[in-house]
């Protein structure tokens, strides 16, 4: 489908599947504490959309996905999605060596989406909401611990 010149860049379905798999490698599930993988959580769209806000970020994303597709072929698979887990890790290490800036950028995008997801916040025991408007209850402090300081003579310098 032809894109209009002003349309935000977007991934095709194969790139989306690849990205979802990649996200699960970067942030895998930890079922024992209820944390889903970033790909399984459905964050690929959010990561792609965040990248699309800046052309240079989207270029990094597209380049990384293209390199992973090539690396998968070298490892004898039709796509990164089909690789065994250990081989995926090896391919990611190779990607890191080829394009050192790629994985950090992908991690920033992924972490930023993952750690504001309500399901993740809940699993972490963090209130699943923004700070405002409810805020947080913090009891007034007991300043008895200040007694030793209160007994101290003034120590600001005047001469």
């Amino acid at each position: 489908m032809a894109k209009s010149p002003d349309a935000a860049p977007a991934l095709d379905p194969a790139q989306q599947r690849l990205l979802a798999t990649l996200l699960d490698e970067l942030l895998p599930a930890r079922p024992e504490v209820g944390l889903p993988g970033a790909g399984a959580l459905g964050l690929a769209d959010a990561v792609a959309a965040a990248a699309a806000e800046k052309p240079e970020l989207f270029s990094v994303l597209e380049d990384g996905l293209a390199r992973l597709a090539t690396l998968a072929e070298r490892h004898g698979a039709g796509s990164f999605v089909e690789l065994a887990a250990a081989t995926r890790r090896a391919a990611l290490d190779e990607l890191g060596a080829q394009a050192p800036g790629c994985l950090p950028v992908l991690c920033v995008l992924t972490y930023s989406a993952y750690y504001r997801d309500l399901r993740v916040l809940e699993a972490l025991g963090h209130p699943p909401r923004p700070p405002y408007p409810l805020g947080y209850e913090v009891p007034p402090s007991d300043f008895a611990l200040l007694d030793a300081v209160r007994r101290r003579a003034p120590f600001y310098r005047t001469r």
Binding site: V33, Y111, S112, Y114, P131, G135, R152, P154, R157
Partner: protein
């Protein structure tokens, strides 16, 4: 807007401009303030959304180069180890400041007499004391009386709660026998005027959606406007113009539509901060002032001081609830404030508590520091740090050095084509030694509080919040830009009231002293109206 002349034209509606305008309003003079930014809507502040941590790094970032809002101007700080932070709006830097509100101390005004370095101020602690107190009443300051690190003073509101994190760190200071005290905080800990009480949202440093933090759009400006001051927003001043006799006669500025305008004035008052003020003076060249307005001393832009920040984050075994409560307000320590040459440097530093990071910031910090990798081990390592970090910041006194300066960038301009500022700054050996000593003491304090390890970042690059010294005050026109009450030595109807006029920096956040000075200068003007320009 008509360009009928006004009595007083204030440039900049931040901490200083607001306090000054409010004070001078009682004269019933015709007072106008031009501000390059706009009014902020607290409902738009980041904490109302789940993306609050991302927005603190984008449209509410400290750096104008990152933020790139229409009101912002770029700053070339690429070669400085400390980057410029500011905010351009009604309220200025108080929109994003932490609200940490300590006064400077008696020795800060006498560093030449006491320590043989830099220069004494042409005024002293006692002179500013009533203006600090007046400012405290207008801003609302939470704290606790009885601190032996200061002459007696009375906060107007109960202290900000320490929370579990603050109480943990306080025990470290207690066990070491070091001074600590609840922060003086410009935060309404109970309902104050039209402001609601603080509900411990956390990141005061990306704007207070609750309106509990004392930003001057909420404190001084409503009162100043009620008293007749006019405030025009989205007006960026290009230059101050002068008459043939060398007095200032007004400004040329661009209005909200980008149209070039002229505004005449009897008195011009600069309140654009320690970078914006020298930028505007250097951009105001004329045959009478070929090196920039009010710059016959050659000191406009020079003696730039920051507070180099040494950040130490300690890692604890237990959750600290560090996302609850004002980020930068909790406790402070002045144990190492005054000079002790046995430490290897002159002057000193204060400590300020930094509460913990949110979930996204923790992950991104872990990524950048290498402590939290991606992949199979991510969640275990993330679990070791999330809500288990507490910070201390050593706020170091920088001494004035003429080679540290603001100049005009030869190429970079803002959206109106006005030359942008460039920062030339090197960290001095004294400041470096102070940072090393301060971060080592912070590690001790955190270890005493139970931290199993710690992480040091010094100088903290993002921490160029406090911009001082670039149009210093003094009695000698050859060694200062303004006199002891903010009037330019060279241009008798030009006043400067922001952090530019600081002679030295002290080792505390400067906002309450900036505002105290602005109130003091306004008071001097009111008392001398009949012979103001003599």
């Amino acid at each position: 807007m008509a360009d009928d002349p006004v009595d007083v034209l204030i440039i900049g509606a931040g901490a200083a401009g607001a306090a000054f305008a409010w004070s001078l309003a009682e004269t019933r003079m015709n007072i106008l303030c031009l501000e390059q930014g706009d009014w902020m809507n607290p409902a738009d502040y980041p904490t109302a959304g789940l993306d609050w941590e991302q927005r603190a790094q984008t449209d509410f970032a400290f750096s104008p180069n990152t933020r790139q809002r229409p009101a912002d101007y770029p700053v070339n700080d690429a070669e400085s180890p400390i980057a410029i932070s500011n905010f351009n709006a009604v309220g200025g830097g108080t929109i994003l400041y932490a609200g940490h509100f300590p006064r400077m101390k008696p020795s800060d005004f006498r560093v030449r007499s006491l320590d043989g370095v830099a220069d004494d101020w042409p005024l002293d602690y006692a002179t500013l004391e009533p203006y600090w107190a007046e400012n405290d009443r207008m801003m609302g300051v939470a704290g606790l009386a009885g601190d032996p690190a200061y002459p007696p003073k009375e906060p107007t509101l109960p202290p900000v709660p320490l929370g579990k994190l603050g109480e943990t760190v306080a025990r470290g200071f207690h066990d070491l026998g070091w001074h600590w005290w609840p922060s003086d905080s410009a935060i309404a800990t109970r309902p104050t005027g039209d402001r609601a009480a603080c509900i411990n949202l956390g990141p005061c440093i990306s704007g207070c959606a609750q309106g509990a933090k004392a930003s001057t759009d909420l404190t001084y400006w409503p009162a100043a406007i009620r008293n007749g001051v006019r405030l025009e927003t989205r007006c960026r001043v290009r230059e101050i113009t002068v008459r043939p006799d060398g007095l200032a006669d007004g400004v040329v500025y661009y209005d909200a539509d980008g149209v070039e305008r002229r505004q005449r004035a009897e008195i011009v008052v600069l309140a654009c901060n320690g970078v914006g003020t020298p930028r505007l003076l250097l951009n105001s060249r004329s045959p009478q002032f070929p090196d920039g307005l009010a710059n016959r001393s050659g000191l406009v832009g020079r003696n730039l001081m920051f507070h180099p920040y040494g950040l130490v984050m300690g890692f604890f075994d237990e959750p600290l609830d560090g996302y609850q409560g004002p980020t930068g307000c909790g406790l402070m320590s002045h144990e190492f404030y005054e000079t002790d040459l046995a430490r290897g440097f002159v002057r000193g530093f204060s400590f300020e508590l930094l509460r913990g990071f949110g979930p996204v910031t923790t992950a991104l910090w872990g990524l950048a520091s290498g402590r939290v990798p991606w992949g199979r081990d991510h969640h275990r390592r993330y679990g070791e740090v999330i809500d288990r970090m507490a910070g201390l910041i050593a706020i170091c006194e920088d001494l004035p050095e003429e080679h540290n300066r603001v100049i005009l960038d030869p190429e970079l301009t803002d959206g109106h084509g006005i030359p942008a500022p460039k920062i030339e700054y090197r960290l001095s050996d004294n400041s470096r030694r102070m940072l090393d000593f301060g971060t080592a003491r912070a590690q001790e304090a955190l270890a005493a509080a139970g931290a199993r390890s710690s992480f040091v970042d010094a100088p903290l690059r993002a921490a160029g919040w406090h911009l001082m010294g670039t149009a210093r005050m003094g009695t000698d026109p050859a060694r200062s830009v303004v006199n002891e009450w903010g009037r330019s030595h060279d241009v008798r109807n030009l006043f400067i009231i922001d952090g530019s006029i600081f002679v030295t920096a002290g080792a505390v956040n400067p906002t309450c002293t900036i505002q105290g000075l602005a109130l003091y200068i306004a008071d001097r003007m009111k008392k001398n109206l009949d012979h103001l320009l003599e």
